[in-house]
Symmetry: C2
Subunit: 339 residues, 2 copies
C-alpha cells in the first residue's frame, strides 16, 4: 500500500475512485461571470427563497446535494459518508443542510481549502474500502461572510484593492469505488505555512506561499514537471496570490504560467464585475471544480489536473489580536485515465 | 476490505492501529477534580503564561503535542498527518498551535465530538496505510468559549441548572501502524440527529439522541450487547444528557447503566465544583480519553471500551435565529487485544 516516506506528503491512491457526479450552485453575480454556463442552478435572489443569508447558504448546499444525487441516479441512503464544512462560525451551513440527509458525516474546517480537503478524504475513504460512495461538499455566501468577517453590509465599508469578493456558491462531489473516471489518483495533504502576512484584506498573499509549498512538494514527490498537468489550479488566491505563486516558481526556474490558473481569477471578470483581486470563499473553488472543471474533465478537454484548495486559517479574533495568517493548501490530482 | 453495508455505519479496521501515546492537559479546576492525577500537565494560571485566553488555549494544544511526542520518543517530523479542530471560530486554536509543527494537517469541525472524529480519521488513515503515524488533537478553554458563545466573563451572567461548564483542557493522541495496543478496532461515523431542542443552555439534552443513535447502531452493526464493553463512554453529555441516554436504552429494554458513563460527569465533582450539569467542550472528552481512559487501557483495567464523542453543531447565530440544535456522535472502539 501507498505510504508516506520521509519528507513526502503525497498519498498515491491504490484504487483511484471515480468522481461519479458533481454539481455547482451559484448566485446572481456568479451567473453573470465567465463561468456562467457551468452551474447546475443559480438564483437572482440573494436569499435563495429563505429568510436569512445564513439559511440561503445552507439552501445552496441542499440544492448541490440534491443535484448530485439526481445526476447520479442515487438517493441519500446510497451515500456512505460525507465530508463537509464551511466558513460560518461552527460550520452551521453544513450541519444544518445535512440535518435531514441521514448520511454519516465528518465535519471539516479548512476555510477555502474545504473542497479539496473533502475530496481528498472522501477519495481516501473510498480507495481504502471504508465506503462504497462518499461525498465532499462546501459553500460560501457573500452576505453571510461579509457580516461575519467584516462589516454589516448596510454599513457600506470601503474595500481595499487587494480584497477578494466572497463567492455566493456551493459545490458537491460524489466519489465512488466503481466507475470510468475521472479518477482521483493522488492526495497531497498540506502543512500550515505562515510567512507573516497580517492584512486580512490580502488573503491571496497570505495563502500563496502555502499553495506554492504544496504544489512544489507534490511535483517533487511524484517526480513531475508542471507541464505534466493540463492544468494546475489553485482556489482561491485571486490575482495577487496567483502572481505571487508564479513569481515563487519563476524564482526556482520552474515556469508554471502556461498551465497554472486560479479559481478566484476564473470565476469573475475582475474589471467588469468590480471584485478587486478576485473571488474567494469555500464556494469559489467548490463551484469552479464541481461545475466548470468537472465538465472539462468529463469532456476530456482536460485529461489531468491538479486541484489545489488553499485556505487562510485566520479568524476576526486572531486578526484583532494582531496575529499573522496561517494558511494551508491541499492538492488532489484528477485524471481521466487511471495512471 | 471492510465496507459499509446497507444501513450500517460501522467500519471494521482491517489493520487496527495502536494508540502509541496520548497526553492530557488541564486547567486549575480540572486539576482539582476527580481525575486530578491523570493529566500530563496542569496550570493554576488560566492564561498558561500567555497574554490572552485564546493564546492560552492554543498553548494547551502545543503542550499536549509536545508531551505526546516526548512520551513516544518521537519528533514532529515523524508524524505523517494530524487531524485537529476546536470550538473557537475558524478553529484558530488548532491552526495557530500547528503553525510551526510542519505536520500535514486536516482541519476538523466536530464541536465536542472532535476527539472521537480525529481519532476515527487518524485510525482509518493509518489502517489504510496512508500514514505510518497520525495524530488527533483538540482543546477548549472555559474563558475563550464563554466569551465567544455567551457573555463577557466580567458580566457575571447567571448560569441555568442545565448548563455545562466548558473544560479548560486539551488532548492529543498518536496512533501508529506498529505497536502492541491499545488498538483502535472499529469506527462508527455518526449521522446528524436533531430532536428539536432549542435551549443552547441544555446541550446535553440536544446531544443525547445522537449519542443513543450511534451507540445503538454500533451495537447492532457489531451484534454486541452493551455488556460486551467494559465501558461505553460518551463525551460530553453531562448529567442530564447521560440520564436521557440511559432512559432511551431502558425504553428499548437494553440496560446500560452498569457499563455506561460520560466524560462530562467524570471530569468534575458536580456538587463540590459548582459546574451544574457537568463538563463540556472539545477538551472535556479529549482530556478524559487521552488522560484517564488511556491509562486505564494501558494498565488493562479496561480491556474494551467504546469512546463516543458527541457534538452540538450549533452557533450563537443559529440560536439567535431560533433554530434547534443539530447534534452528532462518532464512536471508536478501543481494545487492549486485537479482536
Amino acid at each position: 500500500m501507498a505510504r508516506f516516506r520521509l519528507g513526502k506528503q503525497t498519498i498515491v491512491l491504490e484504487h483511484p475512485p471515480t468522481i461519479l457526479s458533481a454539481a455547482a450552485i451559484g448566485g446572481k453575480k456568479e451567473a453573470e461571470g465567465p463561468l456562467s454556463g457551468h452551474f447546475d442552478e443559480t438564483s437572482r435572489d440573494t436569499k435563495f427563497g429563505q429568510d436569512s443569508w445564513e439559511k440561503a447558504e445552507r439552501q445552496m448546499q441542499t440544492l448541490a446535494l440534491q443535484a448530485v444525487l439526481k445526476k447520479a441516479g442515487l438517493q441519500a441512503c446510497d451515500v456512505d459518508l460525507i465530508f463537509a464544512g464551511d466558513l460560518l462560525n461552527q460550520c452551521i451551513s453544513s450541519s444544518f443542510s445535512l440535518r435531514d440527509a441521514g448520511i454519516p458525516f465528518f465535519g471539516l474546517y479548512g476555510a477555502c481549502s474545504t473542497m479539496a480537503e473533502g475530496l481528498a478524504l472522501a477519495s481516501m475513504t473510498v480507495s481504502a474500502g471504508y465506503a462504497q460512495r462518499a461525498m465532499a461538499m462546501t459553500s460560501s455566501h457573500f452576505a453571510s461572510a461579509e457580516r461575519q468577517y467584516r462589516f454589516p453590509l448596510v454599513y457600506g465599508g470601503q474595500r481595499t484593492p487587494t480584497a477578494q469578493w466572497t463567492v455566493t456558491g456551493a459545490g458537491c462531489a460524489l466519489v465512488g469505488a466503481d466507475g470510468d473516471g475521472p479518477f482521483v489518483t493522488t492526495v497531497t495533504a498540506g502543512k500550515i505555512v505562515d510567512w507573516g502576512i497580517k492584512d486580512a484584506n490580502n488573503m491571496g498573499a497570505a495563502m500563496a506561499p502555502a499553495a506554492y509549498q504544496t504544489i512544489a512538494q507534490h511535483l517533487e514527490d511524484r517526480k513531475l514537471q508542471p507541464q505534466d498537468y493540463d492544468l494546475i489550479v489553485t482556489g482561491d488566491l485571486g490575482s495577487i496570490g496567483k502572481r505571487i505563486v508564479m513569481d515563487l516558481f519563476d524564482r526556482d526556474g520552474v515556469p508554471v504560467q502556461n498551465v497554472y490558473d486560479d479559481c478566484g481569477v476564473m470565476i469573475f471578470d475582475a474589471k467588469r464585475q468590480d471584485v478587486h483581486a478576485g473571488g474567494s470563499g469555500c464556494g469559489c473553488s467548490a463551484a469552479v471544480f464541481c461545475g466548470y472543471l468537472f465538465r472539462q474533465l468529463q469532456q476530456r478537454r482536460y485529461r489531468k489536473i491538479l486541484f489545489c484548495g488553499s485556505g487562510a486559517l485566520l479568524s476576526p479574533t486572531s486578526t484583532q489580536q494582531g496575529e499573522s495568517i496561517p494558511s494551508i493548501c491541499h492538492a488532489v490530482s484528477v485524471e481521466v485515465e487511471r495512471s
